[in-house]
Structures are given as structure tokens and as C-alpha cells.
Symmetry: C2
Subunit: 260 residues, 2 copies
């Protein structure tokens, strides 16, 4: 095997165990006012909002809002695939566990992203989704979908995800460690910028191990790459905090992106 083996963070992270994520802990019960998509962090960026708002289903969507603590799962592989999840705030990791117990991170999701698309049209999920921090998540039952939201917005949602996946494939197939790391940072930075948050200073919510796993690198390579980026002066890393000083340079190292 070419890469360092990793065990599932599920087995490691204490927060992932216990009953916390199987009970109704953290349910928000806000007033109708608050339930409007307009007041959501993701408003304007939430694709499901665009998808549903025309059909007057936004209220129902928001009513299923829930707070997930770090380590709590939205769903696990083999679970019945009965819903999509929209990240209202916070961040989520999706992953699969391989036969030998190794974990492969498939994607990270931030505010406005839709999680669980790969479960649609089938009985069960093939991946698992876990919250990386205290996150607010809107649950959209799939049973409501066919009638509610399969319009142009939904097609956009799907193709958008496909394109993001293609971007990752391109990154894994053709970029070296520097290129992968730079792409990763650039994508996160762009996302924050789109949300109106700081694009230059942000906190990573995933471990180095998660990043390495996602980028197909060894954890040591992630460490060393970040250090070299810092030594060259284009950013400063303080544990999980990233402070970008030369975004253009990062962009150049990142190279080609597949996007609209």
C-alpha cells in the first residue's frame, strides 16, 4: 500500500460514541420567524433554499433544523437513505470505511452545502456523514422531494456536486502534494469569501489526518507542505488557524480548477 494507514476517527473520537447522536439532543425549536430561510446563515448560498422556496416548502425544510455536536453523525453507511441534509452552519465530513478498517474521506461540507446526494434513489447510504464541529443542519426528507423540489434548481445542485467531485479527481490524478494542498486551501478560502466571511483568516475544522486522507497524502506530507508554504511567506499556520498572505501565489500553485 502506497499510503499510510488510518483508522476511522469514529473509533478514536470520544464524542462519536455514546448515545448523544441517537437522541433528540440539540433540537432547535425556534419561532416561525427564525424558521425562515432568509434568516439562515446559508441564505443566498443554500441551493436547497433556491430549490424549495418557489414551492413554498421552505418552512417545512427549516422545521427539521438540528444542532449536531462534533462527532455526531447525520447518517452512517447502511442506514436507510431517507433524507438530504443542508449545512446551515458548521462543517461536515463524509467518508467510507474500507474492508480493512481504513477510512477514506470523500468530502468536506460547509455552510450551504448539501450532504447525502449519493443516497438518493437507493435504499441506503454508502457513506457516512459526521459533524466536525457544532453545526446546524437542516434535514430535508426525501419523501417530500419528488413533489417538492425536482426543478431546475435541483439539476443545478446535482451538476454542481458532480463538478466538485471532478475537481477533486483532477486534483488527485494530476497534482503533486503542493498542488493538492494549495487547491484545498483555495477552495475553502473561496467558500468563505462567497459567504461573506474572511477569506484570508480562517480555522480548519478537520484534523491533519482528515486532510491527508482527503488529499491522498501522508499526514507528515501535509505537515511539511504547510511548513514550506509558511517558510516561503505566503501564509502562517498556527495549529488549525490559517492566515493567508499571498492568495495569488496559492492560486498559482493550485493550478487548474474545474468550475463554472
Amino acid at each position: 500500500m502506497r499510503l499510510q494507514k488510518t483508522v476511522s476517527s469514529e473509533a478514536v473520537n470520544p464524542a462519536a460514541n455514546g448515545t448523544a447522536d441517537t437522541e433528540g439532543v440539540g433540537y432547535a425549536q425556534p419561532s416561525l420567524e427564525v424558521l425562515s430561510c432568509k434568516s439562515c446563515n446559508a441564505s443566498g448560498n443554500c441551493l436547497v433554499e433556491q430549490m424549495t422556496i418557489r414551492n413554498g416548502h421552505s418552512y417545512q425544510l427549516m422545521k427539521n433544523r438540528k444542532v449536531y455536536l462534533r462527532g455526531e453523525h447525520m447518517y452512517r453507511a447502511e442506514d436507510e437513505a431517507d433524507a438530504l441534509y443542508v449545512v446551515s452552519s458548521g462543517s461536515v465530513k463524509s467518508y467510507v470505511i474500507m474492508e480493512d478498517g481504513e477510512e477514506q474521506v470523500l468530502n468536506f461540507y460547509h455552510t450551504g452545502d448539501v450532504v447525502g446526494l449519493d443516497g438518493m434513489g437507493a435504499d441506503s447510504y454508502i457513506s457516512s456523514a459526521i459533524s466536525l464541529e457544532t453545526s446546524t443542519i437542516c434535514k430535508l426528507p426525501l419523501s417530500n422531494l419528488p413533489e417538492a423540489g425536482l426543478g431546475r434548481g435541483f439539476l443545478h445542485l446535482v451538476s454542481d456536486r458532480l463538478i466538485r467531485d471532478h475537481n477533486l479527481m483532477l486534483m488527485l490524478a494530476r497534482k503533486d502534494a503542493d498542488g493538492r494542498m494549495a487547491s484545498f486551501l483555495v477552495n475553502i478560502s473561496k467558500h468563505f469569501k462567497k459567504l461573506g466571511q474572511s477569506a484570508d483568516v480562517f480555522e480548519l475544522t478537520m484534523t491533519r489526518q482528515d486532510i491527508a486522507n482527503y488529499l491522498g497524502l501522508a499526514i507528515e506530507t501535509v505537515s511539511r507542505t504547510l511548513r514550506r508554504f509558511q517558510d516561503s511567506g505566503m501564509l502562517v499556520v498556527t495549529r488549525r488557524k490559517i492566515q493567508i498572505y499571498d492568495f495569488d501565489c496559492l492560486l498559482e500553485i493550485a493550478g487548474t480548477q474545474v468550475s463554472r
Copy 2:
């Protein structure tokens, strides 16, 4: 850059130039009998068939059947995204061209596969699709879609594609050259088996360069890996013809797959 650079096959392949693929060359004009999805090579495996047949749209789908010669494009990046394409027979490659003129192969498509999903919901395609051999392709105009086929079958179609992409991501992120090559062969073999064709003897329709590019390897590594597989006795390679003798061994080398 970690990997060997490659130029677009479009610029190299003489069949890709000229007017052949912009005119109506190769249009099949069969009788209504032949137009039934039942008589199609992909029947029973064509997801769009499942998607449309209930709605009585199969006739319209088949009417747009066309033969593409090797090197002819279904669409190119930047083209208006106005249709999905179903491979009735033959094979197709989708790819993007990067800034520096390098090509990245995103996927290979065979009988029954749907090409062009990433163009949905947007104005234009971000990738290009080119026929690798003489292929028969059904065109499904997107303008017919919203009314025609957005049922359960379509959701399955989409999630199936997402899962295949995840499988590729997992392969690129965690497998060495042997694992990638074995996965590649196993997937193709399984597909042929599903179609009722030979799973042990088949012809690859893509160049070594395409394979290397798709798997994120150098072309020399592909050559050497195939040779080692042959030396170990598990298969025989004769140029593009593959004869598999020990499928189980190949499966073991391939390792974990993400699938239903």
C-alpha cells in the same frame, strides 16, 4: 509537476478534426420496430430506459440515435448543455483541458452509461465527450427532461454516478499503481459481464495514455504494471486485448470498492 504531461488527444487524433462531427453523418434511420428500447444493446442496463419507459418517452429517446465514429465529439466544453447522451454501444471518454493544454480524463463510458450529467442545470458543459470507437449514442434533449423523467429512476441514475465518482476518488487517493490498474480492469470486466458479454476477454478502446491519464499514472507505469500482471500469470495483454486468467487475484489487488 509530479506527472508526465500529455497533450489533448483532440489535437493528435486526425478523426477529431474536420466537419465529420458537426454534420448529420451517421444518423441511423431505422424503423419503429428497431426504435424500441427493447432491441437496444443496452436494454435492461440503460438507466434512461428505466427512467423514460414508464412515461412512454422511449420512442422519442431512440429517435435521436446516432452513430459516432472514433474521435467524434458528443459535445465540447463551453457548448450549450442541452442534452444527455446514452451509450447504446461502443465507448466514450469525457475529459477537460487544463490551462496549460494538458488533458485530464474524467471518465470512460460504456454501453448503458449516461454521459453529460454534469452539464445539467447549467448553461454549458464543463467537460468534453468524445467517442473512442464507432459508437451508437442516444441523445436525450434536456428540454424534454423536467416533464419526462425526473422520477425515482433519475435519482438512482444520479446517485449511481456519484458513487462511481467516489469510487474513483478512493482509488486515486489510496491505491498504488497495481491497485489502480487492477480496479480499472475489474470495473471494465464487471461491466461487460453485466451486459452478458465476455468478462475475461475484451478489447480496451482507449490508449495507454488515456488509461494513464485517467488513473493518475505515467504511461510507462501503466505499461510496466500490465507487464508485471502478465508475468505473474494472472492475465495476458496483447496490445489492447486483455485476456484474464485469474480474476480473483485481480479483485484482491484491486481492494475495496465503493458500490451498492
